[in-house]
Each structure stands twice: as structure tokens, then as C-alpha cells.
């Protein structure tokens, strides 16, 4: 699978959640230059259904503790535009988990960096989440593997390490995971008789 480079932003969709017309026009022009498509959205309204690849949100335009803001948390990476640097406002901003930020007033310089950082950190978050899920899956399967090892030990009168090695090597030959083969061993009551050996 080829993953999109964070440096190529052409064709990506941005949702602009801002009020200040001058700043909106700067964002609109700069994202246009970069070949991105833009949807504008009023901060006071519920987030639209359509998917965006990045959300540019003016942190000053949304009241603290607004449900509308928290509703955006799960979705696309957020670039926060910051005017007020008070700790209360920044604390609320941290809750949004922004992928990057820019300090107002905006200039054309800086937006590209903010986008690249946002896309890169969003990709890293996805990679980390996927990695975590794989690890959790393996922990969940530990009991199954343990049961399969016991079964093979009993059926073939093997030591624990020999039984595990047999399962691991069989899994490798069948191009499957130890966890998957263990589940099959338990279901079949012994080493399954696979016909489609690949090695």
C-alpha cells in the first residue's frame, strides 16, 4: 500500500471553520495555490457530514465547553488558529488535540508547514492506533494459544517448547498466524489436516 506523502497536499479536502473574512480569504487563497479543495463552515453550526482531510479551526470563534467543538475530535486532523494565548483557552484547545497550529494574524507563510505537520501527525496517529490494535489482538489470543499448546502437548506427548515450536512452524508453512492456527487446533480438537500446503 502506498501512503500519501504529507508533503503533497494537492487534491486533499479542507474544512474551514472560521469567521474573520480577512483571515478566511488568506486561507482560501493559500489552499487554492496548493491545489486543495475547500468547504467553509460556520463555527456556530453542527459539523457537516461530508468528510474532510483536515479541519482549520479558529480557536477564538468557538465558545469554551461547546459540544460542537468536541464533536470534531474524532475526525480529521485539526489545525488550530490561535489569537488568545490565555491558559484557559489553551487548555480547551488541548482537549481538541490539534495536530498543528498557527498564531493569528495569518500570513500566507506558515500554512503549508501547518498542513504538512497535521497530515504527518495524523498518519502517525493512525499507524500507532493500528499497531496498538494488533498488540491488543495478540494479548486477547494468548489464552487460545496457551490452550492449543496444552492440547498438542497432550496429544503428541511433547514438551511445552516442542509443542509451541510445532505450532509456530506449522503456522509458518500454512502462511497463517500462530493465533489463527491455535484457534483451528482448538476447533478441530488437534492439528488441523490442511490440504493446501504452500511450502
Amino acid at each position: 500500500m502506498t501512503r500519501p506523502s504529507p508533503f503533497s497536499v494537492r487534491g486533499r479536502r479542507a474544512l474551514i471553520v472560521m469567521r474573520d473574512e480577512r483571515e478566511i480569504s488568506i486561507v482560501r487563497r493559500q489552499l487554492g495555490r496548493l491545489g486543495m479543495t475547500i468547504t467553509e463552515h460556520d463555527p456556530a453550526e453542527a459539523p457537516p457530514d461530508e468528510k474532510a482531510d483536515v479541519v482549520v479551526i479558529d480557536a477564538d470563534s468557538i465558545p469554551i465547553k461547546s459540544d460542537l467543538a468536541t464533536a470534531r475530535k474524532a475526525g480529521a486532523p485539526i489545525i488550530a488558529l490561535i489569537g488568545t494565548e490565555t491558559p484557559s483557552r489553551l487548555k480547551w484547545l488541548l482537549d481538541l488535540q490539534p495536530a498543528s497550529f498557527l498564531v493569528k494574524p495569518l500570513r500566507s507563510a506558515g500554512l503549508y508547514t501547518a498542513l504538512v505537520v497535521a497530515f504527518d501527525s495524523a498518519q502517525r496517529r493512525m499507524d500507532e492506533a493500528a499497531h496498538l490494535e494488533r498488540l491488543e489482538d495478540r494479548i486477547r489470543c494468548r489464552r487460545v494459544v496457551f490452550a492449543a499448546v496444552l492440547q498438542i502437548m497432550r496429544a503428541h506427548d511433547l514438551s511445552e517448547s516442542d509443542a509451541f515450536r510445532l505450532i509456530r512452524e506449522t503456522a509458518m508453512r500454512h502462511r497463517t498466524t500462530i493465533e489463527q492456527l491455535s484457534a483451528e487446533i482448538i476447533a478441530a480438537g488437534g492439528m488441523p489436516n490442511r490440504t493446501s500446503r504452500t511450502a
Binding site: V9, R10, R33, L34, G35, A109
Partner: protein
């Protein structure tokens, strides 16, 4: 050297504007020479705006100096007219970028290299932003077309110890060398490689997207021949506007002197500014910016106009080979001025790859005697 070339060109353009009946105003030049010292650009620019009350500043050769000036012109709402080609990824409302953007300059040269020279390349350059970014673009295009970057060697700015790299090139015999060195490093390298190739009876094509005629003279008549070069301007452009420009240049600066791409571009800056002021009826920055947008000027290098989307200019990319007498022979030019794309956001890598496939036969034949690649 480039700063001097640019100043000479700016003053020539100013004199022409001042002596012309076409303009009912005159320019008063205020000169500052920060001498390439990056921190001095901020002071010089601040001084020009506060003390001399200038609205328009023409200049800056390096990106480092331009980035010193931009915050001041943005804060005080002045315009910087920037003549030099640069690596892109910038678009200030207070800069008019008159030099080539990377799509004018680097991309056509890499395409030509893939089509006609080689898809494998040895890169050598000066260790600063122009080389870093140019090499990134080369790498992206070359690898997406199935080629390889054989090496990426960097020298500090001003470094003239080049022998170890020349030796490496002679040993490895790459099918092409891409040179993004600047200044003295480049001249020394080109001379040393030329001599080493003669000794080793080798011919390795070299590509550059920055060499200009005055630099060929500095390199020397023999070593400067044969470099494939990309530029929006060459002295040899056969357009009436350029023939008369070169004649005026030589009348002013001597028959042996040559205008350079950055010098000509500085001349274009002043002319674009003068024409925008005439059109706006005022030197006011906002009015001039609006008047400059899409206002075509038939310059020495051909039609040029400012794209208001990004404040860069439509320019005609050209490729040439350096020949005897320190001149360039143009062998390709775009059919029409190309829209500037400072962020390379319309660069279609798959299209570049397709181009290479068409020339696959020739490529396979060329490399057959070396090795067979599955």
C-alpha cells in the same frame, strides 16, 4: 558577482525609464549594498523604508536575504520585486516573484534528463536550501520514473576542495551529473571535472539550472562547453526585444560583457514596476499590485506577466547547451509562457513516468553493454 550584475541591470532599466517619453514619471534609485551579509538585509531594508520612504524595493539574490526582508515589507505594506529564480514554497502578497519558479526551471531539465540523457544521476550541490529542495524534486521525479539517485554530495558554500568528488565521479562513471553548486565552488568543480574527464577519456553529461553566460566566462572557454542548462533567459534568444536589449547592454557595459539571467530579470522587475505604476496612475502599493496583475510585457526573454493567484510570473522555460565563446545554444523552449507553480502543486509525477516509458527502447539499448536488469 550576481549582485553586481543585478545592480547594473536595475540602473540600466531605471535610466531607460527616466529617458523614455512613454513614462511621465522618473525613478530615483536609492542603493544599498548589504554585501551578502544576511543580517544586514533587514537593516538596509528598514533604512530604505523609514529614511528614504521608498515604496518599492528591487533586489535580493539569495532566499536567506529575501526572508530577512519579507517581514518588513509585509508589516509596512511595501513591495519587494524579487528577480532571482528560487526553490519555491513561498507566496507573500508583498513580493512580486519575477525569477523562475521550480516548474519553470528544475522540472523541464529533469524531464529532459529522463527522456534524453539518463534516468540515473549523480547529484552535487552547495549545502543550502536551493540544493536541498532541488534535489528533493529531482529525487521525486527520478524515482517515480524508475530511475536512481546514485549519490548526493554536498559542499559548504564557497568550498573549493572538490577533488575527492571529482575522483568519485571518474571512478563510478555515472551516466549524468546534476550540478547545483553555486559561485566559486561550481566554477572550480566544472573545471576540475573537465580536466579529469579528458585524462580519463570520459564524457559525462552535466546538467545545471543556474549557470549563466558571465559564469561560463569565469569557468573558462574550454571547460564551460557542453553543460545542459535550464533557464528562462539566455543571451542567445532570437527575439527582436532581446537583440536590441543585448545591443544596449553591450553599448553600456562593453562589447565583451554579457547580460545574465538574473540581470535580465532585474531589468524586467524595473520595467514591470514602471508599467504597473503607469497603468495605476500612482506608485501606491495596492494599486500597483492590482495594475501589475496579468499586464503583459514583451521583455527580452519574451512575454512576461504577473499571475495574481500567487504573485509569481508567467515565464517561458528554455533548455540550452553551453557552446564555444561562453554562449548557450537553445535547443528547446516551451510553446507559450507557463503558469508559475511555486508549490509544484500541479506536478503530475505519473505523466513524467509515462514520458520515460516511451523512450524505454533507447534507454535499454544504451545500458545493454553495462548490465542486464531484470
Amino acid at each position: 558577482m550576481m549582485a553586481g550584475e543585478m545592480r547594473k541591470s536595475a540602473l540600466m532599466a531605471i535610466d531607460e525609464v527616466n529617458n523614455s517619453d512613454e513614462f511621465d514619471f522618473t525613478f530615483t534609485p536609492h542603493l544599498r549594498d548589504p554585501g551578502g551579509v544576511v543580517a544586514a538585509y533587514h537593516t538596509a531594508c528598514d533604512d530604505l523604508i523609514r529614511e528614504e520612504q521608498v515604496d518599492h524595493i528591487v533586489g535580493c539574490y539569495t532566499s536567506a536575504s529575501r526572508k530577512q526582508v519579507i517581514p518588513i515589507v509585509e508589516r509596512t505594506e511595501r513591495l519587494l520585486w524579487h528577480p532571482a529564480r528560487y526553490e519555491g514554497f513561498e507566496s507573500s502578497d508583498n513580493v512580486i516573484y519575477v525569477g523562475a519558479a521550480p516548474n519553470h526551471n528544475v522540472v523541464p531539465l529533469v524531464r529532459h534528463m529522463l527522456d534524453q540523457v539518463s534516468s540515473d544521476v549523480f547529484c552535487i550541490g552547495s549545502n543550502y536550501v536551493w540544493t536541498w529542495e532541488t534535489n528533493r524534486v529531482i529525487r521525486e521525479i527520478v524515482t517515480s520514473a524508475g530511475g536512481r539517485i546514485l549519490a548526493e554530495r554536498l559542499l559548504e558554500l564557497g568550498e573549493i576542495a572538490v577533488d575527492h568528488i571529482v575522483r568519485e565521479i571518474i571512478d563510478r562513471k555515472p551516466p549524468a551529473v546534476f550540478n547545483t553548486l553555486v559561485g566559486e565552488s561550481s566554477y572550480v568543480f566544472v573545471r576540475a571535472l573537465h580536466e579529469a574527464m579528458i585524462r580519463a577519456r570520459l564524457t559525462i553529461p552535466m546538467l545545471s539550472c543556474s549557470l549563466c553566460e558571465p559564469e561560463l566566462k569565469l569557468i573558462g572557454p574550454a571547460a564551460s562547453v557542453g553543460c545542459i542548462t535550464s533557464s528562462a533567459y539566455f543571451e542567445s534568444i532570437e527575439r527582436p526585444e532581446n537583440r536590441t536589449f543585448v545591443a544596449r547592454w553591450k553599448a553600456r557595459h562593453g562589447a565583451d560583457s554579457s547580460p545574465s539571467v538574473d540581470g535580465q530579470s532585474t531589468y524586467v522587475c524595473v520595467m514591470l514596476l514602471a508599467r504597473a505604476i503607469r497603468r495605476a496612475g500612482s506608485a501606491d502599493v495596492g494599486a500597483v499590485r492590482r495594475a501589475a496583475a496579468n499586464h503583459r510585457y514583451d521583455s527580452p526573454q519574451g512575454p512576461v506577466w504577473v499571475d495574481p493567484d500567487n504573485n509569481h510570473c508567467f515565464l517561458t522555460p528554455r533548455l540550452a547547451r553551453s557552446v564555444l565563446e561562453c554562449q548557450f545554444k537553445i535547443f528547446w523552449e516551451a510553446d507559450a509562457p507557463e503558469r508559475p507553480d511555486p508549490y509544484l502543486s500541479s506536478l503530475d509525477l505519473t505523466a513524467v513516468g509515462t514520458r520515460l516509458e516511451r523512450s524505454n527502447d533507447a534507454k535499454t539499448k544504451r545500458s545493454n553493454h553495462l548490465r542486464i536488469v531484470k
